[in-house]
């Protein structure tokens, strides 16, 4: 089985029961002119993940292994947006890439470089966590998933919330430092530290080249 050099300990996974999860790599979060940038954030902190992630996805697909993508967003009538979230502003308003975080809009979709292939599930989620109010758990069950390799944005918000949900459900999670991004370097650092703290309280942390190397060694 492939073994990855990781913190706080080596991470071993079986390719038959491991899914690559790609969280919210959406234009509204990553592209200049999108929702993220309009809030005053530095999107280059996120876009640096696109290159290593596309290399990892190619290596993963080369072995016909499963990838699941997620997108945060809401119905056009906002019926699935909690009032407290709506009150914080932005969602549903007109942005440079269509209505912000609304399903079907250009900005809500995944960046060109990381577009899902036919057959790869795309989970549309109304919250930060990918398990709440979605069929992610059912899809993982169907795949016989035991472990998740987690990538995407942002590290301390949607990635962390999803990893916490997955960890409580008993999945082993390996988070890839070079394939997750935060608008804030401090949160990137502490977000990764929290995952591996206390003997790996939420999971493991490594870099994508280590995963690719492990995949290729076992071929």
């Amino acid at each position: 089985m492939p073994t990855v050099d990781a913190k706080p300990a080596p991470f071993t996974f079986d390719t038959d029961s491991t899914v690559l999860l790609v969280i919210d790599m959406q234009r509204d979060f990553l592209l200049p002119g999108g929702f993220g940038e309009s809030l005053g954030n530095d999107v280059s902190q996120l876009s640096r993940t696109i290159e290593p992630l596309s290399v990892l996805m190619a290596a993963w697909r080369a072995q016909n292994l499963p990838i699941i993508h997620t997108r945060e967003g809401h119905e056009p009538d906002l019926s699935d947006c909690p009032p407290s979230k709506l009150a914080r502003g932005g969602i549903g308003e007109q942005g440079s890439f269509g209505r912000i975080l609304i399903r079907g809009e250009y900005g809500h979709d995944i960046v060109d470089e990381l577009q899902p292939l036919p057959g790869e599930p795309v989970i549309d989620k109304p919250g930060k966590g990918a398990f709440y109010a979605t069929d992610l758990a059912d899809i993982l069950d169907k795949f016989g998933t035991k472990k998740l390799i987690v990538t995407g944005v942002t590290t301390e918000v949607c990635v962390h919330t999803t990893v916490r949900e997955a960890n409580d459900r008993g999945y082993d999670c390996l988070v890839l430092a070079d394939c997750v991004g935060s608008y804030f370097p401090e949160f990137q650092r502490v977000g990764l530290e929290m995952i591996a703290a206390q003997g790996g309280i939420f999971g493991w942390v490594a870099d994508s080249p280590a995963v690719i190397a492990a995949l290729q060694e076992q071929k």
Binding site: P83, K85, V157, N167, D168, R169, F184, F187, V190, Q198
Partner: protein, 230 residues
Amino acid sequence: MTASIGPVKADPYPWPYDGTVPVSRTALICVDWQTDFCGKGGYVDSMGYDIELTRAGLPATARLLEHVRDLGMLVIHTREGHDPDLSDLPPNKRWRSARIGAEIGSDGPCGRILVKGEPGWEIVPEVAPVAGEVIVDKPGKGAFYATNLDLVLRTHGITHLILTGITTDVCVHTTMREANDRGYECLILSDCTGATDPSNHTAALHMVTMQGGVFGCVATSDDVIAATEP
């Protein structure tokens, strides 16, 4: 007159978003104030962490509890723990706790670590539940997964949550994230929480306040007390 709460002086906006709400729609959540996390001989103590850090929020929480009980606010306590046969303990959680020298289910100075019914699993006396308060037993870090918490809150008509407990970055944060996704308007109290690492406590509170309050708001127990009307 119905008792009310808000606006509370909070970061990044006066909490809650909808101004002033009846206390009857608000619950105080006390997360995992258990001997295993903040008592001598418990799980956190066994792992070698300083329990003074996780105990730091006890006096303020005890004072706040007294205040909200007088107002008639719903109080919910949570406890992390597993069945004695460990049938609800994920293997990776057990493996990690063993690796760090405090295996869940093994015998410690306060009984079997994080096992329901053991002395270490009980809530410490300073903030112990009183008759009529809800206790939610949870197998994970989040208080919503595999529990009836959401049902209890909806049954009571609760829309707003005030969070205290330990640890800030682990169980309190996971629960706050779950609650936020479910549409509850959340407030976490900086003086009624604590972590095994002080910088994680600070970072976890800071994360809440970013992006206009991505998970809700941060305040102190004094801010809450000052913003309630009997």
